[in-house]
């Protein structure tokens, strides 16, 4: 077998793993891989303006497409700049592979120029990581990296490549299949557990499905829809689960938790059976844990055993891939042979109750003359895009208003940093999504605070001619923190007001993009249609009601039934 250099192996592995787009930023310790990339010429490289942008773009690419996202950075500061992106992907189970350059093996530990122990730094926020010390190990490590990233509960994997490994030579024996004795995620659920789950469902009078990001990751949306429909069970979704079940479906209760709907939180509080699917009972969902779903038995489906029984006691744990588990559950329903009307009858009173709750406190906001309401902007955005755009968000109020007022019907259409809550995620993620789907409409919903955290990627989007649309809900506040200060800190607005924000229209123009601004409600439609129809990158800025809050809201640490409604 012919010998190959380490840098060539990296390129070759990318090809064999089906990677055709990568995001990155070069530097001295990764220059050799870049050289091999250039010589090869078949893999599209997107040059970002900051390595954090590369990690988020790879993440956005992965979430939108379901494929593994790849990013590449140099040693030292290049590597540390990817860390927020890696941690973001880790919390939301996104498969990305990050390649970092490293100083030559002989210099490791010597405090060499641009040296950092990135494997040590990212150990707690990657699914797994590797420092490759011998080029002979590289083919195996490359194969493992992609396999570990995409299998089981997906996650980020980092591969650190010392300069001499990039240039060293060895045989390139790329394994076709891989089996790791220490890593065997459980995919198929246990038959007994399915039976036990079905028996609980059979008896339940007030069941509710609580669906999380796992539904989307395992492409189980069709199975979920079929299951809910077959048994007439209402569905509420976490932030990560939005799109996993159609938001416009009559059985949808919308999002639950801290800023969830009244009906979703009431459903959980009064349910006698919660069927958790690919969700992890996060504190933003449960509120005060002692008061969470006091009447309910719990069935919990998850591919990650650590998610089960971590925060709440579970009656029937089912470890396995959501799609497979749901298929088995559907089989059990069929075998049960109960007619659809029987399920309907059993849940009728419950569904009526939920309907009453929906009607009593729907998601709403107060119109005010002369002032743009952010919720209205999102509603209009939803109407104009017919719900068909890929929406990314930043973090904070912009994220919650989007989750509440944009009805996601399809999986992989909302890309948002749910677990880590990373401001600055949305825009680079939109770039990644647009690279994956050049013909789709991709919109980043941002606040004036978070858009500035990765605004430099405007240049990346321009360079790649990406028609990403940015909606900026500008209240000149770090709105979510301000809202907490208003409610719980006697309106002491410590460090949340921006006395200066840039002129976003001019900023767009400075990058060669289009910029539009609305300051009055009657301008909203016009700005949205101009922005959405503009060719190429565009910013739509909306001067929104400055002290608008996100409601309902469950104050942190309170029971989810203690919602502030307006």
């Amino acid at each position: 077998m012919a010998k190959m250099t380490g840098k060539q192996m990296v390129i070759e592995a990318l090809k064999r793993e089906g990677v055709d787009i990568i995001f990155g930023f070069p530097g001295g310790a990764i220059i050799d891989v870049y050289d091999a990339l250039e010589k090869d010429g078949t893999i599209k490289h997107v040059l970002v303006r900051h390595e954090q942008g590369a990690a988020h773009a790879a993440d956005g690419y992965a979430r939108a497409s379901g494929k593994v996202g790849v990013c590449i950075a140099t040693s030292g500061p290049g590597a540390t700049n990817t860390v927020t992106g890696i941690a973001t992907a880790n919390m939301d189970s996104v498969p990305i592979v990050v390649f970092t350059g490293q100083v030559p093996t002989a210099l490791i530990g010597n405090d060499a120029f641009q040296e950092v122990d990135i494997v040590g730094i990212t150990r707690p926020c990657t699914k797994h990581n590797y420092l490759v010390k011998d080029v002979k190990d590289l083919p195996r490590v490359l194969k493992e990296a992609f396999y570990v990233a995409r299998s089981g509960r997906p996650g980020p994997v980092l591969v650190d490549l010392p300069k001499d490994v990039q240039n060293g030579k060895a045989e390139f024996d790329y394994p076709q299949e891989i089996k790791l004795r220490s890593y065997n995620p459980v995919i198929e659920p246990h038959g007994k557990q399915i039976e036990r789950a079905y028996r609980l469902i059979e008896k339940a009078k007030r069941p509710v499905i609580y669906a999380g990001g796992g539904v989307i990751i395992s492409d189980a949306d069709k199975e979920l829809r079929a299951l809910a429909k077959a048994m007439h069970i209402p569905v509420t979704m976490t932030l990560m689960g939005l799109g996993g079940f159609p938001g416009t479906h009559e059985l949808s209760l919308g999002m639950l938790g801290m800023h969830g709907t009244y009906s979703a939180n009431m459903a959980m509080a009064n349910s006698d059976l919660i069927i958790a699917i690919g969700a992890r009972f996060d504190d933003r969902v449960t509120g005060k844990i002692e008061a969470f779903a006091p009447l309910a038995k719990i069935i919990h489906l998850d591919i990650d055993p650590t998610s089960i029984q971590k925060n709440v006691k579970v009656d029937v744990p089912i470890v396995g891939d959501c799609k497979r588990v749901l298929k088995k559950l559907l089989d059990a329903v069929k075998d049960g042979g109960r007619p659809a009307e029987a399920w309907m009858d059993q849940h009728q009173a419950w569904l009526q109750q939920l309907d009453a709750w929906k009607k009593r406190h729907p998601l709403t906001y107060k119109e005010e003359p002369g002032v743009i309401k952010p919720q209205n902007v999102i509603e209009k955005l939803y109407e104009m895009t017919k719900g068909r755009a890929i929406i990314t968000t930043e973090v904070g109020q912009n994220q919650m208003w989007t989750a509440q007022f944009y009805k996601f019907d399809e999986p992989r259409t909302l890309l948002t940093s749910g677990g880590l809550g990373t401001m600055g995620y949305g825009f680079p993620a939109a770039i990644g999504a647009q690279m994956a789907f050049p013909d789709k409409l991709v919109v980043d919903v941002a606040g004036d605070g978070s858009i500035q955290m990765n605004i430099q990627e405007m240049a990346t989007a321009m360079e790649q001619r990406l028609p990403v649309k940015i909606v900026i809900l500008n209240n000149q506040f770090l709105g979510m923190v301000r809202q907490w200060q208003e409610l719980f800190y006697d309106r002491r607005y410590a460090a949340t007001e921006f006395e200066m924000t840039p002129d976003f229209v001019k900023l767009a123009e400075a990058y060669g993009a289009k910029g539009f601004r609305a300051t009055k409600p009657e301008e909203v439609d016009d700005v949205l249609s101009k922005g959405l129809e503009a060719e190429g990158l565009a910013i739509m800025e909306f001067a929104i009601a400055r002290e608008e809050g996100v409601f309902p809201m469950v104050p942190a640490g309170k029971a989810t039934t203690e919602m502030l409604l307006v």
Binding site: K127, L131, V148, S182, P305, Q309, K310
Partner: protein, 161 residues
């Protein structure tokens, strides 16, 4: 409740750090930790003593299993098991205390592994409770230095991990 876990991990750099990082990052505690190679040089055996209620122990075991480098985790304290720890204790041995130290040594079947005009170094092996007892008896005489291996453990009878 105290639990003794046997963990088989890939003998790779960073594997131990992943485990200790998991404990500190998730606020689990480690009472003692012992690591050494097994008969298979590609695997290391870690014996880890920790405390927690059943939910915490369940989480610890699951979290350990989730690590890509971890091959096997067994809570050996769930069934019958033997545990041992060894300690080297350097104790002040003046004229009047030398005989007393040797008597303690005899009772607990310790070994004197080093002698100097002013000190004895003892090797003590046994379950943690025995080590505690020896240490408490020697403390008034004057312990100059002490090192301990941490617990190692094994399931009884035919069971292996």
């Amino acid at each position: 409740m105290k639990h003794t876990l046997s963990v088989l991990v890939e003998n790779t750099p960073g594997a131990l750090s992943r485990i200790t990082g998991l404990f500190s990052g998730r606020a689990f505690n480690i009472e003692s930790l012992n690591v050494a190679a097994t008969l298979d040089p590609t695997l290391s055996h870690i014996t880890l003593v920790t405390r927690g209620d059943e939910f915490i122990i369940e989480q610890i075991i699951k979290q350990l299993r989730r690590l890509v480098d971890v091959f096997k985790v067994v809570d050996v304290s769930e069934g019958e098991f033997v545990e041992r720890e060894m300690s080297l204790i350097k104790v002040r041995a003046e004229e009047e205390s030398r005989a007393e130290i040797l008597r303690i040594c005899d009772i607990f079947r310790c070994k004197v592994v080093d002698v100097s005009p002013k000190s004895y170094t003892l090797e003590v092996t046994g379950p943690e409770s025995k080590l505690k007892a020896v240490i408490e008896l020697l403390r008034p005489i004057g312990i100059k230095e002490i090192t301990r291996t941490g617990t190692i453990a094994m399931m009884r009878e035919r069971k292996t991990i």
